[in-house]
């Protein structure tokens, strides 16, 4: 038995010591890359825990990176585009990948560009667009989403009154919470592991999650799972688009984005991101393809009216029609896609080389009002060849979601037909 006074003294000293220890570990490891503590080999070189706090991490990373070029987009950009690579021309460096996984919308693109430009130094903005976002109107909110409360400006361009509070909150939560401490420990333990996810200082992410899933379940299952989701999504979007008339949703946001870039002397490039033919087929079968063509046409018109380049990678090429390994095959990889919407970094490199390195186009093209009709016809012909005429026998879409639409998709897998 000890005197209660001694108990209270020991308790108080222990609490203070533990609090300081936790804060020191969190500051040293900096699991979300908020403080910019130098990365130490064996301790904090890789940042696996930033995975669930991407926006938090990226806002502070971007401010430290002082990029000349910023990449804007969703998880496909976050994972598929490497901001640090030889494919980038010198004048565009440094590049920061501001791709945001999760709740990504077109207005997030605009807001992220505003944030990057307000931070200073941005000369190029490359915005990767997911066509699905244009088939459902966004619901505007007066209060910025939680993740955007730390931005310098509000969505309407006015200074963000929440920023200082949010920064204080971010610092506190990154320093003095149990979650941050657990993530610090996870970060340290993850350093020695094979295939640990990392959020690089330039905002690019490793593909560790997909690699794990591919090894555990095989590419076939990953494709099937994603296709199921896209079918459900296409069904939802079709309901909206059936009754929709006039300009597509979100094009006003693109107009604002173009105007903003022009006003701030930022060279804007819009990119319709590549999708695997499985995804394209799903939206074709949902009856949404005329809307895809409408989107391309309207975007081309808007881009031509300003100094904006619009790239279209939504076509049926040898990349986007690559075969999917058979069910149960956990060893055979794919070359270009993780599933029907997320492309691999290798494909991202080709796209960058093509767009900015002066390499001849392997797939995709620059869209203009003059060529958009021909381009739409060309993609339709590609689809006819791939899906209906049997040259693209490796689509999974027909297996999981058979539908008769005038042509009979032949759906087989790599295991039956061998690699491309």
């Amino acid at each position: 038995m000890v005197n209660p006074i001694a108990f209270l003294r020991t308790w108080l000293v222990s609490v203070a010591a533990l609090a300081i220890l936790v804060a020191a570990v969190n500051l040293l490891v900096d699991p979300y890359d908020v403080f910019g503590t130098p990365r130490l080999a064996g301790i904090s070189l890789l940042k696996p825990a930033a995975k669930n706090h991407t926006m938090l991490a990226k806002t502070y990373q971007e401010a430290r990176a002082h990029p000349v070029t910023v990449l804007i987009g969703s998880s496909t950009t976050h994972i598929g585009i490497d901001a640090f690579g030889p494919q980038w021309p010198e004048p565009m460096l440094p590049v920061y990948n501001y791709g945001i996984p999760g709740a990504y919308t077109t207005s997030t693109s605009l807001h992220t560009v505003q944030e990057a430009v307000t931070a200073g130094g941005i000369k190029n903005a490359i915005v990767f667009l997911d066509f699905q976002n244009f088939f459902v109107p966004e619901v505007p909110g007066e209060i910025p989403p939680e993740d955007e409360r730390r931005f310098r400006v509000m969505a309407d361009g006015t200074p963000n009154p929440h920023r200082q509070t949010q920064i204080a909150n971010d610092m506190f939560l990154s320093l003095a919470t149990a979650g941050a401490f657990v993530d610090s420990v996870t970060t340290i333990l993850g350093q020695g592991k094979r295939n640990t996810l990392n959020l690089a200082p330039d905002g690019s992410s490793t593909e560790a999650d997909f690699i794990d899933a591919a090894q555990a379940d095989g590419m076939h299952d990953i494709f099937v799972h994603k296709n199921d989701y896209e079918v459900e999504r296409a069904t939802r979007l079709k309901r909206v688009m059936t009754a929709w008339t006039g300009r597509l949703p979100d094009l006003d946001i693109i107009a604002a984005l173009i105007a903003y870039a022009g006003a701030h002397d930022v060279k804007l490039t819009l990119v319709l991101a590549p999708h695997h033919a499985d995804a394209l087929e799903i939206y074709w079968r949902a009856g949404l393809w005329p809307r895809v063509e409408q989107l391309k046409t309207e975007l081309a018109t808007m881009a031509a009216a300003s100094d904006v380049t619009l790239w279209d990678f939504m076509d049926y090429s040898s990349f986007t029609t690559e075969g999917v390994p058979a069910a149960g095959d956990r060893r055979r990889p794919t070359s270009w896609f993780w599933e029907s919407t997320h492309y691999k970094k290798q494909l991202g490199e080709f796209m960058i080389e093509q767009m900015f390195g002066g390499k001849p186009p392997l797939f995709g093209t620059i869209l203009t009002p003059d060529n958009v009709a021909a381009r739409n016809a060309e993609v339709r012909a590609q689809r006819q060849s791939v899906v209906c005429d049997g040259t693209g026998e490796r689509l999974l879409t027909a297996i999981t979601h058979p539908i008769a639409d005038g042509c009979t998709p032949i759906a087989r897998t790599l295991a039956e037909h061998g690699p491309t």
Binding site: T10, W11, S14, V15, A178, A216
Partner: protein
């Protein structure tokens, strides 16, 4: 203001304690007044308008109590009329704020009309405060309350550690303590209070809240009419049972600890209910102060009245093994069902709570009936207890878990959907990611009808781990009352004469070992304060 918030822990509590000790060193009455004002501020912090609603109610109850005090010996008829008026006033007050919207829904459902009322703001803790005020009126009427002033009554009702979610206390057990409290810094009280508070905080933030995040999507899906497989339904049912268990247990510990800072001991409110071996045992451990209130002020008077009526009519009354079915139904089943109906309605204004109360009433009746007939078929009590305790535990546990689905589900239909899931009507599933790692076992599971689905394997494993750990703690470890029994953490709690080895090993003392251990628990709790979450029982 939440107990589990930075403003409370680092602002309100230290200021109130410091003020209490400093003022208490000069004048006890001023210290008590300081505590009352602080409690009022605590109550107003949430929504200041609440004070405007609750303060007149307190004054009216005080006035009625004074009238009762003057009349209960000299004019019993008048006193009874005042008591009835007081109870009606309090029940109407509670009914107006808590049940008017439910009554509107029920009327609209029953008669297919579209009657619309304005959505009312529910004053915080109104159910607890109302019951406490009714108990006080009854005690004054019965001459059990002793002398009291407005300051005494105000502190009794408003004392912030038990203001919002109980325990429901009696004036006679609280006021002598307020009058005798040291009103100064007492190291032992503070050490015991700190320990109780941080045990509670850790239970709430580390055990209960993560379960809440796991089960919320499952109940949301059920509310949207999406059938849940047995895997998901059991996670939903077990997860919520353990969530509310540690939420309420944590709150009760924190309330005990906070009161102890002021030298006050509250009554026991929570005593390892999931270890109960019968549903009767469960209700003597879960929300003990509510059970005590309902027994003392509803069940017992009702049973007494009914027994007298039957005796007056010459009918047989309750008599152990020889009880007739009519006596059982009339004197036990009916009061039990009525009491549990009130308990259900008290917990929430909705069909699910009504059914939850009735279901527990039915379970209690079955339990009582079994007790009556068991004596006839198995008279050896010692053998019976040894052999049937595990069976009783299992049946009680499953019944409580199944009933808890009603407590959390958004509607009766959502609860039914989950119950169907629990018994496997929507199959058994495993995430594809886990299924594909099971190798040959996957084929065996498939033959048993287990289906692979595209849900998160990580979430399932987290759910299993969290539920497993929480179950082990709830079922195997001694509770905080047992661990701190040597220091009377709650009114009347004393160390057991014989203590199991585990309890002896974990018994709390103001030692350096415990100080460091508690510091770790406190830091884990304090560092988990980032996400605010309300206590489930605060909504009642």
């Amino acid at each position: 203001m939440l107990f589990n918030s930075y403003p409370f822990i680092f602002g309100f509590l230290p200021i109130v304690l410091a003020g209490f000790y400093v003022i208490g060193a000069y004048k006890r009455d001023w210290a008590m007044l300081w505590l009352t004002v602080a409690s009022l501020l605590f109550y107003a912090w949430w929504r200041p308008v609440n004070v405007l609603l609750i303060a007149p109610s307190i004054l009216i109850n005080y006035g009625l109590s004074r009238l009762l005090e003057r009349n209960h010996q000299t004019r019993p008829t008048r006193a009874k009329a005042i008591l009835i008026a007081g109870i009606i006033f309090n029940v109407c007050f509670l009914g107006y704020f808590k049940y008017l919207n439910f009554a509107e829904t029920a009327l609209n459902d029953a008669f297919g009309i579209g009657f619309i009322l304005t959505q009312l703001i529910l004053p915080l803790g109104i159910s607890f405060i109302t019951f406490q005020k009714i108990a006080f009126l009854v005690d004054v009427h019965a001459g059990r309350a002793g002398r009291f002033s407005l300051a005494d009554y105000g502190l009794f009702v408003l004392f912030f550690p038990q203001l919002i979610a109980g325990p429901i206390v009696h004036y006679r057990e609280m006021m002598p303590q307020f009058h005798a409290a040291p009103c100064r810094f007492d190291p032992e009280n503070v050490a015991v209070g700190l320990s109780l508070f941080f045990f509670g905080l850790a239970k709430k933030l580390i055990l209960a809240d993560p379960l809440s995040r796991l089960v919320a999507p499952l109940y949301a899906q059920a509310a949207a009419g999406v059938p849940q497989s047995a895997t998901e339904a059991w996670i939903a049912a077990l997860g919520f049972t353990l969530q509310i268990y540690f939420d309420f247990s944590g709150y009760s510990d924190m309330a005990l600890g906070l009161a102890r800072f002021f030298g006050i001991k509250l009554p026991v409110n929570f005593n390892s209910p999931l270890q109960a071996t019968s549903i009767i045992d469960f209700w003597s451990r879960w929300h003990v102060s509510l059970t005590r209130f309902l027994s003392a002020y509803l069940y017992n008077p009702l049973t007494l009245t009914l027994t007298r009526r039957r005796m007056a009519k010459g009918k047989p009354i309750f008599g152990g093994g020889g009880t007739s079915m009519a006596a059982f139904l009339n004197l036990l089943a009916m009061p039990t069902m009525l009491t549990m109906l009130v308990s259900g309605i008290w917990h929430g204004a909705g069909y699910t709570f009504v059914l939850w109360g009735l279901l527990h009433g039915l379970l209690l009746c079955i339990n009582h009936f079994w007790r009556l007939i068991r004596m006839r078929i198995w008279s050896d009590t010692k053998t019976y207890k040894r052999r049937m305790a595990p069976v009783g535990f299992l049946l009680t546990f499953l019944s409580v878990v199944a009933a808890m689905v009603l407590f959390r589900a958004a509607s009766v239909s959502a609860a039914v959907l989950l119950w169907k899931g629990l018994i496997g009507l929507y199959g058994v599933t495993l995430p594809q990611t886990i299924f594909s790692r099971l190798g040959a076992a996957a084929g065996w599971l498939a033959t048993l009808g287990v289906q692979p689905v595209w849900t998160s394997g990580a979430v399932l494993l987290e759910a299993i781990a969290r539920i497993g750990i929480a179950l082990l703690i709830a079922l195997l470890l001694p509770n905080t009352l047992q661990m701190l029994a040597a220091f009377e953490p709650a009114i009347g709690v004393k160390p057991a004469k014989t203590q199991p080895r585990l309890l002896r090993a974990l018994a709390w003392t103001p030692s350096n070992t415990w100080a460091i251990g508690l510091a770790c628990i406190a830091i884990a709790g304090l560092l988990s304060l980032g996400e605010l979450s309300e206590f489930l029982y605060w909504q009642f």
